[in-house]
Amino acid sequence: MSDTFASGLPLAAVLVPVGAAALASLTTGRWPNLRDAWATLAGIAMVAITVVLLVETLDDRIHRTVLLDLALGIDSPNITIALRADPAGMMFGVLVSVLWVLAGIYAVGYMRGEHEQKQTRFFTAFALSIAAAAGVALAENLLTFVLFYELLSLFTYPLVTHRETESALVAGRKYLAYTLSGGVMLIGAAAWLHVLGVDATFRAGGFLDGAGLDSVTQWVLFGLLAGGVGVKAAVMPLHSWLPSAMVAPTPVSALLHAVAVVKAGVFGMVRVGVFVFGASVLDDMGAWLVLAVMSAATLLIGSTLALRHDNLKRRLAYSTISHLSYIVLGVALIGPLALTGALLHIVGHGVTKITLFFVAGAIHVKTHKENVSELDGIGRQMPITMGAFALASLSMVGIPPFILFTSKWYLGWGAVEVGQEPFLIVYLVSGMLSAAYLFPIIIRAFARRSPDHTRFGEADIRMVAPIAVTAVLALVWGVAPDLPLGFFELASTVAADAFPPSVALAGGTP
């Protein structure tokens, strides 16, 4: 068993980006280089912290910071606000910190290349969003989770509306309306659990397991919690904010779709499914089926819609919607293999999708092209960029040995393990659809000849380098998911904690 001890490190992981935000806003646009350096330095510091935490976690030493512990003298449990570096949280936390460094460097190149306005505000909000995402990752209990989850909505709002155009404002409003509503649902659920006297500390296997709630209560709670996190996870029919939010600058899209927001949503789904309800409760309720059917539908519809969109970023957005549902479905299938796959998919999709968005951004900076149909021949002009795109696309489709192959393999295997073969078919079909919406781009880029004779070179080094790194990461983690950061070990630890051998496998297994 792992032992837990008090430490300041989890708090430090949250505070480092806050500090970066403060420094960036104080430095202001007068010294842009210094301002942008803060983010990179802080990102490296944060990676260091999270890696230390990761090593510790892998050694079964869980670091925990209690920010607030309060007995209210009323017969409900203490109100505790605490951060804890548990295996599941660390997966998300490390992912966030690593991708922040890359996205930060990329953002510098992008923002300068596009001559975007109000860069200070952008970098400040960016860092704050990372802090909130780190908080979401490390939250020890539901209340802490809700707290940071709400903050994440707030801090990303200025990012979505960054362009300040009419459509950006509309998208911002939509985004805020959706996410705040989700937050409200979560607050309601958290308060209710608190009143019911349930200790809402996340526990592998579910803290509601054995709490003795009646099934109506469970269903309502499930509706509130799954609905609340489902907004950010863009499960249909709660997804419509996501394509609209594509008006934001590309680093934001990368952050939203690959790192912070939607991953917080699916990570929340993992928390809700595994750490709040747990396998046996979900199985008894039958709620897994609802979740599974909804996510499977989202998966297929999302992929299909992606086919129809010519705008590259929109196509990627629908692809995101579909891939998020991979993870939700993995959670819903409640089996150890499916869960391992889902967790790996969070990481894998993170690095893969961020590559794709980076590429889209780089193309836009260089050529101002946004549509797939305009990309003929671009591969020859920007070989590194489009090469990375091709690698990421292969990963996306699930070709071995890329990371997403590994995760999809586990997901599919998990579906078989629990005896739900129809969902395996869903996964396979969706993989083929992925190929259908991604490969044409590669073919256009490399096989066709550019219609006009303008020559474009590669983008700024600050953009190309992160693209290359993430693409390579997608490959490396696919070949060796345990290297260098032990994601596979973490995922299987979580799965083992959540499904101890004594628990019967769920999902209608005989």
């Binding site: 209210l72 003298g73 009323i74 909505s153 300040e164 705040l180 409200v184 308060a191 209710w192």
Partner: protein, 515 residues
């Protein structure tokens, strides 16, 4: 009798004493009025803080005025709740007061002594209400505060006159209803002391009379706190009141009425007394729920910032009423917490609105385009206040909502939970509308907007809106002067600080206070 700590006297006595000094001294040396008023409020705030510290150290205590123990005499009841609320009122007023000098010179003409005398009387009345333990004494101080408020609202210009008169009539009805209710309680029990009244009400034979008394007391205080449907005076009064007064009255005045109502629940009417044949508690709950929704929706429809904030106040006060109506210790504590939080949040928002008015002269939301970067501190404070109002976690507003939701769940009042949660979304609708205008809209030229140029516009003639060049007003707008932005920043910091300290306040002050 042991000598009692003399601290509480200063909370009320200092403003009273200097309210007498200021008018005459202000004639001799004009600038003394502001300084004396500021110092006096500081004294009251310090006295409140020391009282609170004493309460936390030794428990609640009474102060017998004139040395007569109640029920013969009148007492101050200094417990956790009253000490905290008086501390909040005095310190928020202190901060707001710093900024009033700029307006007072214009709005109060060459007689700042009179103006600051009234301000001090207003504060004395409010703190008097908070600390008193007597039913009738509360009425007297309520009238002091109200009279001062009527006059201060009235001097805001043409439209404020009618609003002020309406305020006076409705406020007087409220006061008289309260007095009538006290009469009923007095004839049913024979006492005017709150705590003794509670004991006697539990055994009274004239329960029906006392209940009707409760109805009148709550109707009277409901009028003063602008509980729907008794809110009609508030939007006009808050919209048209002069800037200096607005940010002073809005955060504290109605809150004190709400506090008085809560006090009635805590120390006068026994539990269960208000849910019998005359279901006052339920009525309060229902009116509160209606008020939350109504206030938010009405606020969303406003184009004038201050009117929007006024409707928002209606909604927030209804929130407090819901807490009182639920009546459990947790709900009451949540309501009290919201009184504290809301005082800070609304002071921030109204002061920011006043600051905008000072520099831009415009109050319409659609005219604030691009103001964010030009007045970073003002709009930053406004943003923090807004976020707190919406109830985003670490800020103050989140926790009162959290506790209220819990209290509603405890009681199985699902509708309360739903409305409280919904209200934060509705709040987001109207406040983010302003933020969006200020921060995210690129400045674009607009044609004439002469209807926006209200009286009492900007202080410096250069920034005064005129018909041909309205747009440059925003573009030329500078940050508010030091004595306006400093309190604003402090208040915004307090909003965040209260959010972090909320739970501590709840644990050490409010929950012991209500049980």
């Amino acid at each position: 009798m042991d000598p009692q700590p003399q601290l509480p006297v200063f909370i009320v006595g200092a403003p009273l004493l200097f309210a007498v000094v200021v008018p005459v001294l202000g004639r001799v040396w004009r600038h003394s009025a502001f300084l004396i008023a500021l110092a006096t409020v500081a004294v009251a705030a310090v006295a409140s803080a020391l009282s609170l510290e004493l309460v936390l150290r030794q428990g609640a205590f009474s102060y017998y005025l004139g040395g007569w123990a109640p029920p013969v005499g009148i007492e101050y009841v200094i417990d956790e709740v009253s000490a905290l609320v008086s501390l909040v009122i005095t310190s928020v007023s202190f901060l707001v007061l710093i900024s009033t000098r700029r307006w007072a010179e214009r709005e109060a003409g060459d007689r700042p002594g009179i103006f600051y005398g009234l301000v001090l009387l207003l504060l004395a009345g409010l703190t008097g209400i908070v600390v008193t333990g007597g039913l009738f004494n509360l009425f007297v101080f309520l009238e002091i505060a109200s009279l001062a408020a009527y006059a201060l609202v009235f001097i805001g210009g043409r439209k404020a006159m009618l609003a002020g008169f309406r305020y006076l009539i409705i406020g007087s009805i409220g006061g008289a209803f309260y007095l009538l209710g006290v009469g009923f309680v007095y004839f049913a029990t024979g006492t005017l002391n709150m705590i003794e009244a509670r004991e006697l009400l539990e055994v009274t034979e004239n329960a029906r009379a006392a209940q009707v008394g409760a109805v009148f007391i709550f109707a009277g205080l409901g009028l003063k706190m602008a509980l729907v449907p008794m809110h009609l005076w508030l939007p006009d009064a808050y919209e048209h009141a002069p800037s200096s007064v607005n940010s002073l009255i809005a955060p504290v005045m109605t809150k004190v009425a709400a506090y008085a109502m809560l006090r009635m629940f805590l120390s006068v009417f026994p539990a269960g007394f208000l849910s019998g044949s005359v279901p006052v508690a339920d009525a309060l709950l229902i009116l509160g729920l209606i008020g939350i929704v109504f206030g938010s929706i009405a606020a969303a429809g406003q184009t004038d910032i201050r009117r929007m904030l006024a409707y928002s106040s209606i909604s927030q006060l209804a929130f407090i009423a819901v807490g009182i109506g639920l009546g459990t210790p947790l709900a009451l504590a949540a309501a009290l917490l919201h009184i504290v939080n809301h005082a800070a949040m609304k002071a921030t928002l109204f002061l920011a609105a006043s600051s905008i008015r000072l520099r831009v002269g415009l109050q319409r939301t659609h005219n604030l385009t691009g103001l964010g970067p030009r007045m970073p501190l003002t709009m930053g404070a406004f943003a923090i206040g807004s976020v707190a109002m919406v109830g985003i976690p670490p800020t103050a507003g989140f926790f009162s909502k959290w506790y209220m939701v819990q209290a509603g769940l405890d009681e199985g009042q699902w509708i309360v939970v739903a409305v409280v949660l919904l209200s934060s979304l509705l709040t987001a609708v109207y406040l983010f509308k302003v933020l969006e205008q200020a921060y995210l809209r690129p400045a674009k030229p607009e044609p004439s907007a002469h209807h926006d140029a209200e009286q009492g516009g900007s202080a410096d003639a250069a920034a005064r809106p005129s018909e041909q060049a309205m747009r440059p007003v925003v573009e030329r707008a500078r940050e508010a002067p030091f004595d306006v932005w400093l309190p604003l920043v402090l208040l915004a910091a307090a909003t965040v600080g209260l959010g972090i300290a909320n739970v501590v306040i709840m644990e050490h002050v409010l929950l012991p206070g209500v049980s």
